[in-house]
Symmetry: C2
Subunit: 382 residues, 2 copies
């Protein structure tokens, strides 16, 4: 056993916590760039809550609302230039994973010269503006790690940029901000959180500390995701919010596996919503890893409250896979990658993209999967 | 649900990791004060490993080896003055909880004027020298939180000083350094870690994130503590080391309860070893909280692998208490507080000390315990 654990973010969890953001912001800067999407934070009133608290604490702010789903590194460059021009000293990301990851990228780009794409390819940089993150979906967990996912438009590599400087200083996880999430987004972001927890749990880089967090996240999601979608109440929203943050911690420490790796080109080439892209790949992926991690999958059965009395661990693992596939169906998520327009002839290109750009996640995947295994999982997910 | 989670320490876990300490130290300073006990770190060779790595990385060092068990705030003042005189810019604590807590206190005292006792009583101070902690026992978990336990000699209040500045920047948890721990210390520190996990689990300040960590810590301890004492091998040492750090995280975030509170005056007045002091109080304490937390205690039965088939949760909770009492017996820990010289007539004084100085821990304890409850727990522990 040999691992590191590092999470310097102050996480504040609770309904109404957004009203405290200004207090924390004034410890970090005087002029904030708010990074958010074009409309939803405005419609829901979440942006108003944020700027009210900033105003009460004398923080100036300026809005960057050009966040795009599946952002390109060039979008980040643009945001970084905007941050420099406007002389902000703090970046606040408000929204789902895209808004938070864009905020992280901009905070980094503002203090490091040259295109973001170079840093994605390994150019070193150590500084970023201080960051505050405020999730409004329960899915990405970006508030609890130092990863910002973006796509290099020159290579179409969608991957996570990792840097110690882009941990949020403060993350405010206020489930009230998620109350207005529509069912479709609750489902697609919720399943993303579930797979962060599951993949970090079976990751070859996991350890008992991250495993305990991952398991609890799966327990919370499996007991509350349906309710949060179909009859949302405070309890189900709270549990989903917490589970997403917990899964984000584990993901940051232990990494995710081939399932996430294989979704990325569905997003970069077919603009699939990340959570929706994960769903149809899950069954074939889980069947691939099952022989290597059946004991862990049997443990997942326990937290999902699946009856496994008198079953062997192998059989319990199968029940877990069945339950996950059933959950995807129940939530109305896509069951085939052809939903996104993927055709059989595209699979080679998708698999090459995974092989070329997602080596880090592949190496965390139990079972040493080969290029042929990747092709097969895509084929089985058609 | 409303909570904060903050742990800015970089935790590095693994056998042989101490050889990397110099690399981290040189990011933080040039001249280190090593805080350790008079003899054990020297005898075991652990001090030599530390100074070798510092030397390889060009870090000067100076030794403060006057660490006393159950340190007074005045001992910390002395260490702080020594740190100032010697112009160190980094403090490294090597040893058990006492050495690490003394190191934390000294790092704080070096940058804040006036006696430490004043800060214990609420005087504010925000700065400390950067700290590296290296545990050589598996018990206190001090490497994973911002608490330093010390005793005010004027009031005999033994309590935890908490300050954000005394989180270690880096903690190196290297189970190899614990291989030489004698059985008695393995037992008394191990049971301390177990109760950090248990008390933080039932604490009124717990949350699902800390609970998941606490439960896993109890699981690891219950499956490895006997082995680590009677036939230590790498696996049992590794598990105890990890569990202790995990319990230290939960303790820092969720706090401990009345059991810890009631042990403290046994240490300050009777110089009991902290872990040994906890043992005889456990049964009466657990019987007191049982009605309020029987569901949680039933969950502890699961991780302790206690057979609870066909039992109600109340009955399972009783089984958990029996198992813990049995574990204390098996480990050869004291079963009565009279072991430390406590007489019936001392109990009033002990209980008053708890009431006067441990309000924070009492308020985290389920069941609103009264002064009479405290007296009764001490009496039942004679």
């Amino acid at each position: 056993m040999d691992f590191g654990f590092y999470l310097p973010t102050k996480i504040l969890f609770g309904r109404g916590k957004i009203s405290e953001v200004g207090l924390h912001a004034k410890e970090l800067g005087r002029r904030a760039l708010i990074v958010t999407g074009k409309s939803s934070a405005k419609k829901t009133g979440n942006l108003e809550k944020l700027v009210r608290s900033l105003g009460e604490n004398g923080i100036e702010w300026i809005l960057f609302d050009k966040v795009k789903y599946n952002p390109f590194t060039t979008d980040i460059d643009e945001g970084g230039a905007f941050a420099k021009e406007n002389k902000v000293d703090l970046v606040i990301g408000l929204g789902g994973g895209t808004a938070m990851d864009t905020a992280k990228g901009i905070a980094f780009a503002a203090l490091n010269d040259g295109p973001m794409a170079d840093y994605m390819e390994g150019k070193s940089g150590e500084k970023a503006l201080p960051i505050i993150l405020i999730p409004t979906t329960a899915g990405t967990g970006s508030e609890a790690n130092n990863i910002a996912v973006m796509t290099n438009p020159y290579t179409m590599a969608k991957k996570g940029f990792r840097n110690p400087s882009i941990f949020a200083r403060v993350s405010i996880v206020d489930p009230e901000l998620m109350d207005s999430m529509p069912p479709k987004i609750t489902a697609s972001t919720g399943i993303d959180a579930f797979f962060h927890a599951l993949e970090s749990y079976i990751s070859l880089r996991s350890n008992p500390l991250t495993e305990s967090i991952s398991l609890k996240a799966m327990e919370l999601i499996s007991e509350s995701i349906k309710k949060a979608i179909y009859e949302p109440d405070k309890e189900s929203r709270d549990k989903m919010a917490l589970a997403s943050t917990m899964a984000g911690i584990s993901l940051g420490q232990a990494g995710v596996c081939a399932l996430h790796a294989m979704e990325h080109p569905l997003s970069s080439y077919f603009n699939a919503h990340h959570g929706e892209g994960l769903a149809p790949l899950a069954e074939a992926f889980l069947n691939f890893v099952k022989p290597y991690v059946f004991e862990k999958l049997a443990k997942v059965a326990e937290v999902m409250k699946i009856d496994t009395a008198n079953l062997s661990k192998e059989q319990a693992a199968e029940k877990t896979i069945d339950a996950i596939v059933g959950m995807i169906k129940d939530l109305g998520l896509p069951e085939s990658i052809s939903t996104f327009g993927v055709k059989k002839e595209d699979i080679q290109k998708l698999a090459s993209n995974v092989k070329d750009y997602m080596a880090h996640n592949l190496s965390a995947t139990p079972g040493n999967l080969t290029f042929e295994d990747i092709l097969k999982i895509y084929e089985e997910s058609m």
